[in-house]
């Protein structure tokens, strides 16, 4: 159904494929950036993954003015404010972020603080409330294929004091350039490949079926789901397959563009709460919650799910499924994929596997209820339904 009204924006320039990393210095010059702050985390630095970017920047005369690596796994408001401080103290004029979701989201938060000429990210919270501010050139190089954060207008940052993940939504959060280069994900372990791939799948499914879905974002969702289902097992089993890696990276980016324009839903609302309250890794929370939320949503979203069946299983099996069964069949296909990834890569399927216990459920449910993503879930959820769903996933 055509929505009564929708908006769509994606202004990120994508560099994708062979030698994509090598083009970063040229892009920096186009953005009039000479003293970039290189943001990454300590693990990526130790593994030598960042050096692929740093070496090129040095060799092409765009050496980082500062390198900041003290970014926690879940990002944090404190880290965001510290990054902004380092940027100012080091005389930087741009940001290059190399990492997964937490690095990219921390970079986005710091860029917001800088562009709004603030000192504290908490003072500029909200949705679509910011003016354009000062332009800070911003290039993002994802090292996982999942968050899609390289192309989204949202930053998710953990409030360590309150134990919640906060969302900052603004079109001015979008990076200027996103760089997809298979070299960045070739060494990603099988379990992380599987779980981040499921995060991307989750973005695509939720974006295609939530209240804010629209024809443009749905087109990105369909393409992303097709690419994920065709490549995720290969990427898990043969991590050095550069083609499969690039396909997964493209899928994650497309799913990111989709959900940046139509939001997500209950999987993410509850997943953010699991991250905030129990420190469950975002991508693993997605894999655990996805089938439970899909089953809950089925009465309201069967038609939307049915439309995704061909992308999940292929056209012929989808056509052979009776129309009334297609929504349910799509949910079953997701469950089958998760079971396969559990067998091949060890992704968790139950909350108890990631250390969540029954006593934590009321707090998780209450936190999820205050997450903006819940409001657009295709089937409304109140506190009791969130708690019931969590019990079912224990």
């Amino acid at each position: 159904m055509t929505p009564a009204y929708f908006e769509f924006q994606n202004a990120v320039k994508l560099l994708c494929g062979q030698n994509a990393l090598d083009r970063i210095p040229d892009e920096l010059r186009h953005l009039k950036a000479e003293h970039p702050l290189l943001l990454t985390d300590a693990l990526l630095l130790r593994l030598g993954i960042v050096s692929a970017v740093q070496d090129i920047m040095v060799a092409e005369g765009c050496a980082p003015a500062a390198v900041y690596t003290d970014i926690p796994v879940d990002s944090s408001l404190g880290a965001v404010n510290r990054i902004a401080m380092v940027y100012r103290e080091s005389g930087c004029d741009s940001i290059v972020a190399v990492g997964g979701g937490s690095v990219i989201d921390s970079a986005k938060g710091a860029r917001l603080v800088l562009s709004q000429e603030s000192d504290d990210i908490l003072s500029i919270g909200g949705i679509e409330n910011l003016h354009c501010g000062r332009h800070i050139p911003f290039i993002v190089v994802p090292t996982t294929a999942g968050t899609g954060s390289e192309c989204t207008g949202v930053a998710v940052i953990r409030n360590e004091q309150q134990g919640v993940k906060m969302e900052f939504l603004s079109p001015f959060v979008e990076p200027d350039v996103a760089v997809l280069d298979a070299r960045m994900t070739l060494r990603l372990p099988a379990r992380a490949t599987a779980s981040t791939g499921i995060d991307a799948l989750c973005h695509a499914i939720e974006a295609a079926t939530c209240l804010q879905s629209n024809p443009l974002s749905s087109a990105y969702c369909s393409a992303a789901i097709r690419l994920i289902c065709a490549n995720v097992i290969e990427a898990v089993q043969h991590g050095s397959n550069a083609d499969a890696r690039l396909c997964m990276a493209m899928a994650a980016t497309m799913a990111g563009i989709a959900f940046s324009n139509s939001m997500v839903g209950a999987v993410h609302a509850i997943g953010h709460a699991l991250g905030g309250v129990c420190h469950v890794a975002h991508a693993e929370a997605m894999g655990i919650l996805l089938p439970h939320v899909l089953r809950y949503n089925l009465p309201a979203a069967a038609e939307g799910y049915a439309q995704l069946l061909p992308e999940m299983v292929g056209w012929e099996p989808a056509a052979a499924t009776p129309p009334a069964e297609r929504g349910k069949a799509m949910v079953q296909a997701v469950e089958d994929l998760l079971a396969l990834l559990h067998a091949k890569a060890g992704i968790p399927l139950r909350l108890s596997e990631v250390g969540v216990n029954e006593q934590q459920i009321p707090r998780i449910a209450e936190t999820a209820l205050n997450d903006g993503a819940l409001i657009v879930n295709p089937r409304p959820m109140l506190a009791q339904q969130v708690a019931d769903l969590l019990h079912g996933a224990l």
Partner: protein
Amino acid sequence: MKRRLQAVLIAAALRLVHAALVELQELDPAVAEELRRLPVGISYAIYAGYCGPSLLVRWDGERLSRISDTSHPVKNTLRFKALAIAFRLFTGQIGLAHAYAQHAFTLSGDIADVMRLARLVNRAEVHLFPSIVTRCILPEQPGPAVSPLRIYARIFYGFLKSAY
């Protein structure tokens, strides 16, 4: 003319929503519980566009009071992008979730705190709109805790006493 009429109706609807919440604090356990969980001293502003009517409230731990624009700095703001969009919400043509999905408003402040306000407005609407409307725009909401007639009677009496 149409715009002025819309502004008058929205102003009345905003006053009604506030009055309903004051009354429902005693009558609807869901509203009472939501208010009880609000941080003491929290303030909210709802603006219908940039030149339209507004509602500013503050929770002092016991009562949700209307405040004037200048008496307290308001931390959490929900601003409809245009008067005509606010009109659609306050006349029951769309629910808050669909309004959000349609980028109908901007939010400033902590999104979690604004979600609390959204739930309160939903409960007020359940008691103010006919059930045929709320079943359509707020399908997840349990029915009214007391009959809408009783709420309107109490609000009428409250306005006579200048209680809001």
